[in-house]
Each structure stands twice: as structure tokens, then as C-alpha cells.
């Protein structure tokens, strides 16, 4: 039986998330009414039939542990395989740029030794898309390569993103990390399918240069490896900053996007909180919104994303905003272009307005 395993790095940070990552890693940012960013990477893996997934954890791992628990909701609470928690290096977390350090692989060689697999998919938690890696594997085998990168054509790429250049014959020529924005780029989607012996060899080559990013290490050696790139044609977005976060959240309110990401054959798995259904009162008004369970809605919501167990009082108006779990929005409060952090209480009549490009972040800090 051929086996595909997964390895996710959650051990990186980005200052562009501001307060959102003050107490949580990027992987743990709540997204889309009931998910956290990590759910997308992890669901892609388990929905592709993988039963062994390693997770390189960041320094702030408590919230991730809370969220993932046993891995049961991801089908990863198993006798053989399952979810492997792999502590990342404490330093790795603040170094910026790379998301997947050689050092974190090296520090967790047990995962490579103990997990039975022939090929590995390596991924991060910063891209939102819904993919079946078995298709990538098929492509990888057809092309008879050692390494297959997943990318999407014609994308806006930001500083720090990796893009792929092809030569005339459509072969991968180079991977570049951007120092300034580029349009219509071949955006690397942070997923690489790689043969076991190759990834182990690369980690070994770079063992003395361990702060380096694995993908950059591979990029430096394109000539010595046999590589291909798999074009993903579905909806895919990067989330590298608060601005991205707001923009992509609003894209979810396009029902085509919502259905592709959430309602296809491959569901996104997440922690189950077992809250009551959402209760709309007579005074509720709602339009273009995703709403999480356990919420009580008496006010008005438009173009917004509401997480579970939120209470929205009569006369409150919420527009173009993201309200995280367990918030309480008082009567006649007005929120526009706002991100309300988990558990924030907005008093009656409070007004907060940001702009689309620069939302106001309300938190308990």
C-alpha cells in the first residue's frame, strides 16, 4: 500500500497581523464563522485520505491544542498514524520570512523515522483552498518527478510570497520569494509533494544551515532534483495580513466561493462545539452573512461574518465586519469595518467605524 503523509508547519509569525496574533499563532486565527486557519490545511490532508499528519507547533501552542484536541474531529485519533504534535523551535517563531524551517524538520526526525510513508505533502496554514492531494499525487507519478509544487496562475502576490517561474517548455525554472508585490504571478500555494528519500536528503544537506526555509532549500537545488508544478484551478487565497484577512473573509460571502470551499465533496473539519441553533428574533435583519451556531440575533447584520455564541441586541447594526465567538453587541451599537476579537462586549449605543482597507480591531487587551 502506497502511503501519503502530511506535515504542516504552524511555527511562524507575521507582524502584518497586528493584534490578531498577540495571543495566538497565525494557524489559530478564527476564520469563516466556525473555523481556524489551520482547519483548511488539515482538512485538505485528511480529505485526501491521509491518516498520518505531523504538526510543527509554535511557541503559543495552547490555543492550537485546545482546538485540535485529540484530532478526533479530523479522524486523526488512531492506533496507527494519527496526529503527531511536533514542537517547533522557539526561535523559529519570530524569524519572519520562511514558514517551514529546516531546523523544525531536523528537530522532529522521529516523525520521518516512525511514520510509514512513501511521499509527503508539506504545507503551512496561510493559504485558503480546498484540494484533493490525491490528484497532485497522480500528477507527480505521471510526471515521474521527486518534487511537485502546487501553484495558481495569474494571482496577485505580496511581499514574502513565493512565485514560480517556468521556462519556455513549461518546466519549473525558479522559485522566488518576492521583495515587492507582483501581479499575474504563478503563486506557490505553500504545498509541496515530495518523495521521502528526497526530503530526508535535503534536511541532511542543510543541517548546518538550519534556519533556512525548506522550500528555499529545494529551490536552490532545482537542478539536482526532478521537479514539476501542479496547477490548482479552484478558489485559492493567501492570508498574510489583517488586510488579506478582511478581504478574503468578505469573499466568503459570495455564495459561489462559499459553496466551493465549504459545501463540496470535501468538507472542512473543525472542532465541534455543540452549540444550539441560531435564534433569530422578530426584530432581526440579516443579509449576506455567515452566522455561527449558538448565536442570538435581535439586531441587523449585513455583509458580515458572525462566530458562534454571539449575542446581538435589538437595534444593533453590524456591517462589513467580523465578530468573533462569544461577543456581546449592545442595543443600538453600530459597527462598520470592524474586527471584534473573541469575547468582546460592546455596550449599548457604542459606535465603531473603520474603513475597508483599515478595519478597527476591538479587543479586550
Amino acid at each position: 500500500m502506497e502511503r501519503l503523509a502530511g506535515l504542516i508547519s504552524a511555527n511562524y509569525n507575521d507582524a502584518r497581523f497586528g493584534k490578531l496574533t498577540a495571543h495566538r499563532p497565525i494557524a489559530g486565527i478564527p476564520f469563516g464563522s466556525r473555523y481556524r486557519l489551520i482547519d483548511f490545511s488539515l482538512s485538505n490532508m485528511v480529505n485526501s485520505g491521509m491518516t498520518s499528519v505531523g504538526l510543527i507547533t509554535p511557541h503559543l501552542y495552547r490555543s492550537l491544542m485546545d482546538h485540535l484536541g485529540s484530532g478526533k474531529e479530523f479522524g486523526l485519533s488512531r492506533k496507527t498514524g494519527g496526529l503527531y504534535i511536533l514542537p517547533g523551535s522557539t526561535y523559529g517563531y519570530d524569524l519572519g520570512k520562511g514558514k517551514f524551517s529546516i531546523r523544525d524538520c531536523k528537530g522532529n526526525m522521529q516523525f520521518f523515522e516512525r511514520t510509514r510513508f512513501d511521499r509527503l505533502v508539506m504545507s503551512t496554514c496561510s493559504k485558503i483552498y480546498n484540494i484533493d492531494y490525491r490528484d497532485v499525487e497522480k500528477y507527480h507519478l505521471e510526471k515521474e518527478v521527486n518534487v511537485t509544487f502546487v501553484y495558481k496562475k495569474n494571482m496577485d502576490a505580496d511581499v514574502g510570497d513565493i512565485v514560480i517561474d517556468f521556462d519556455d517548455r513549461g518546466r519549473v525554472k525558479a522559485l522566488r520569494r518576492l521583495k515587492k508585490k507582483e501581479k499575474k504571478a504563478n503563486l506557490y500555494l505553500d504545498s509541496t509533494l515530495i518523495d521521502k528519500n528526497v526530503i530526508i536528503r535535503i534536511i541532511d544537506w542543510y543541517k548546518d544551515n538550519s534556519y533556512m526555509d525548506v522550500i528555499e532549500a529545494i529551490a536552490e537545488n532545482l537542478g539536482r532534483l526532478s521537479v514539476a508544478a501542479y496547477e490548482f484551478t479552484g478558489f485559492a487565497r493567501s492570508i498574510n495580513s489583517i488586510k488579506d484577512y478582511m478581504e478574503v473573509s468578505k469573499e466568503l460571502l459570495d455564495s459561489k466561493v462559499m459553496k466551493e470551499l465549504f459545501m463540496g465533496e470535501r468538507l472542512v473539519h473543525t472542532k465541534i462545539h455543540d452549540a444550539a441553533p441560531v435564534k433569530y428574533f422578530e426584530t432581526a435583519k440579516v443579509k449576506n452573512a455567515l452566522v455561527g451556531t449558538g448565536s442570538i440575533i435581535k439586531g441587523a447584520i449585513e455583509n458580515s461574518i458572525i462566530f458562534r455564541n454571539t449575542y446581538i441586541e435589538e437595534g444593533a447594526k453590524i456591517k462589513n465586519s467580523i465578530i468573533m465567538q462569544k461577543c456581546k453587541i449592545g442595543a443600538k451599537a453600530i459597527l462598520e469595518n470592524v474586527i471584534c476579537e473573541k469575547g468582546v462586549v460592546i455596550e449599548d449605543g457604542e459606535v465603531h467605524k473603520g474603513t475597508a482597507g483599515k478595519p478597527v480591531i476591538l479587543s479586550n487587551d
Binding site: K259, H269, K279, Y280, N288, T293
Partner: protein, 378 residues
């Protein structure tokens, strides 16, 4: 394992034929309720909220969906070191197979199971009642008064009383008489079908009853009258909260709709006495730009582009643009297509209301329109 003080035996084998189309495919306790729940969730949640974590569930009628819904009980924290859910279907022995024939017979046939857990007390429950109750309070009462059997009772109006098993009690709530559905009720204390027995007493009573050829092997008709005859210590325990037997389509509709009131009888939002269920992984519900939702309960996975008023929409219900849903209960995976109108209706799991179809009536006192599971209504 340490000895259990009290275990619950939950009768979930009934067909519930008065629920008509809703129980064609599944047993009554498995019928969807209040959007995300199934009726049995309430009894199971009461158990774990009362620290009763060993539950035997007696199944018989079309148990597949119930079995797979309950699984190993983890949805209700009834797995783990101290917890256990056991599904107890009728079975075959060297002497052949034999179905459960009456409520008492179902327990009698599982004496081996109860003996293997060896509890001091056994709580008998029905899987089709709607209420929140701390059984532990009742157990403490049973122990305090030193009862052989404690029957949980509720005060009903004298008009209703003839529909129930009615107790006459003395000033200490000691039961002196029990009459099933009396024409002229002597009291208004109605049995809720919730019993705590001291196991040794019940065990003996079941064995005696099993050989009585005239018995219907029913708790209300046989076991309790027999114990009264034997002058055992039978006590009533008065429950003051909300309790509803979901027996008919009308009572099912009412009990659902009650959840839409500003201050419903059953608080499903209370995290201290939670109603647990076996949740799924559907995405959050989505209300589109043409959607409108008023005075309703919506579950995960719903996509609303039409208008929903005073209704309960279970998981993954889709209401297309231009469709309207009023005063209705839509069970999981119902699809109301564009331009359709659904009024005062109950629509079974997976059914489709075709485009522009009209279901139900706005007329006052109109009957509840009922569509079964997996039907296409044109």
C-alpha cells in the same frame, strides 16, 4: 470497575405510529427536533447532566439510524472510563429469537446486562419525552424516603388526567393507588413514565411477571399494580418543570414552535444544563443578499436566499430565491426550490419542495401539512 449506584434503561424501541410519516423510516426517539436535535437527545443529556453515565438503550423498531446516531455515546460524553452506552436489541438464543413484548419484557430480557453492571438502583426512561430534569435529585429522594419504587409525577389538569396513569397519594406522597387512564380520575398527579426502582425489587418483580401468562408485561399495567398489591414502598416524586410527551403530530409541532417564543419552556442555550447531540461538520449557515430571516431557528449548513418566517430549519436546509417558508418545520437536508411556498408544514428529511409548489394553507385552523422523508412534493 467500581460498582455503579444507578444506571438508566432507556426504552427506545417504540414505533410511534401516531407520528405518521416521520417514523416511517426511523424509530420515534430518532426523529429530528428543534433543528439540530433528535428527540432522544433530551433524555440522554438529562442522564449525563445528572451524573448517570451508564445507559442501556433498548431498541427494536428500525434501529439503524438510531444506532449510528448514538454510536458509542461520545456525543453525550457517555463514553470514557466511567461512562458507557449499550445498545440492546432483541436477540437470538439457543431457544430461538424473541422480540420485546411490552416495556417490562424488554427490561426482563436484559437482566443479564443489568446484573453485569450490578447497580443498586435502576432508572427507567422513555426516549420520546421532552424535558430537562436532574434525575439525581429524584434518586436522592428515592434513597431518603427508602422507596422500592419512585414514580416521577406531574400535576395535570383534571380534564387531561384521564389520558395518563394517575396516582393517589397520602400526605407523605406515598402512593396508595395507581390507575391507568381512569375515566373518573381521583387525583391529578400523572405518571411521567420515569421510574427509579431498587434493583433487587424490580428484578424479582420482572421474573414473577415473566411467568404470568395474562400479563401484558407493561410497567403501568402490570408491574406497578403488582408492587402495590404486595404493599411495597411506592412513592411519588413531583416534578415542577416543563414536560411533554411528543405523541402526535400536533404535540410535535407545538413543542417545536415553543422554542421560537422569546422565553421558551426549554432553554437550549443554557450551558449549565446543556442539551448534547451528535453534531456534524456542516459549515455555518449562510443568508444571501436576497434572503430574509425572522423569528426562526437556523442550523449549520443552511443556505437561505428566500424568506423564512417563524420556522425551524434543521441542518443543511436550502431555501432558494423567491421561496417562502412560514410557520413550518423543515427537517435535515430539505430543499425548498425557487418560488415555492411552504406554510404550516412539517417536511421530512431529504425531501424536496419543487419550484413554485405550494404546500400547506394560511387559513386559520388549517391542518398541519406533513411530508415524509425523501419525497418530492410538486
Amino acid at each position: 470497575m467500581q460498582q455503579k449506584e444507578c444506571i438508566a434503561m432507556l426504552l427506545a424501541g417504540g414505533q410511534g405510529s401516531r407520528l405518521k410519516a416521520l417514523t416511517k423510516r426511523i424509530a420515534k426517539p430518532a426523529v429530528s427536533f428543534g433543528g439540530k436535535y433528535r428527540i432522544i437527545d433530551f433524555a440522554l443529556s438529562n442522564c449525563i447532566n445528572s451524573d448517570i453515565n451508564t445507559v442501556g438503550i433498548l431498541t427494536q423498531y428500525k434501529p439503524y439510524l438510531l444506532n449510528s446516531y448514538i454510536g458509542n455515546g461520545e456525543g453525550w460524553d457517555l463514553d470514557g472510563l466511567n461512562g458507557q452506552v449499550s445498545l440492546l436489541p432483541p436477540y437470538f438464543t439457543e431457544e430461538g429469537g424473541s422480540w420485546y413484548d411490552g416495556t417490562a419484557d424488554a427490561i426482563f430480557k436484559n437482566i443479564d446486562f443489568i446484573d453485569s453492571v450490578n447497580p443498586k438502583y435502576v432508572l427507567i426512561l422513555s426516549g420520546d419525552h421532552l424535558y430537562k430534569m436532574d434525575y439525581n435529585d429524584m434518586l436522592q429522594y428515592h434513597k431518603k424516603v427508602g422507596a422500592d419504587l419512585t414514580v416521577s409525577v406531574i400535576n395535570v389538569s383534571i380534564e387531561e388526567a384521564s389520558r395518563f396513569g394517575i396516582m393517589s397519594v397520602d400526605e407523605e406522597l406515598h402512593i396508595t393507588k395507581f390507575t391507568e387512564k381512569p375515566k373518573k380520575p381521583e387525583s391529578t398527579l400523572a405518571s411521567m413514565g420515569i421510574y427509579i426502582f431498587t434493583w433487587s425489587v424490580l428484578r424479582k418483580a420482572l421474573i414473577e411477571d415473566s411467568t404470568d401468562k395474562k400479563s401484558e408485561h407493561d410497567f403501568g399495567k402490570n408491574i406497578i399494580p403488582n408492587l402495590l398489591k404486595e404493599e411495597k414502598r411506592l412513592y411519588a416524586y413531583e416534578f415542577k418543570g416543563y414536560w411533554k410527551d411528543i405523541g402526535t403530530i400536533d404535540s410535535y409541532y407545538e413543542a417545536n414552535m415553543d422554542l421560537l417564543r422569546d422565553d421558551p419552556h426549554i432553554d437550549i442555550f443554557d450551558r449549565n444544563m446543556r442539551v448534547y447531540s451528535n453534531s456534524n461538520i456542516s459549515p455555518p449557515h449562510f443568508v444571501g443578499s436576497t434572503g430574509k430571516v425572522e423569528k426562526s431557528l437556523l442550523c449549520n449548513g443552511c443556505v437561505i436566499d428566500g424568506k423564512v418566517t417563524n420556522s425551524i430549519l434543521s441542518t443543511n436546509v436550502v431555501v432558494d430565491k423567491g421561496a417562502e417558508v412560514i410557520d413550518s418545520i423543515l427537517l435535515p437536508n430539505v430543499h425548498v426550490m425557487a418560488g415555492a411556498k411552504v406554510v404550516k408544514a412539517i417536511v421530512g428529511e431529504g425531501s424536496v419542495i419543487s419550484a413554485k409548489a405550494k404546500l400547506g394553507s394560511t387559513a386559520k385552523n388549517a391542518e398541519i401539512a406533513l411530508i415524509g422523508d425523501n419525497e418530492i412534493y410538486k
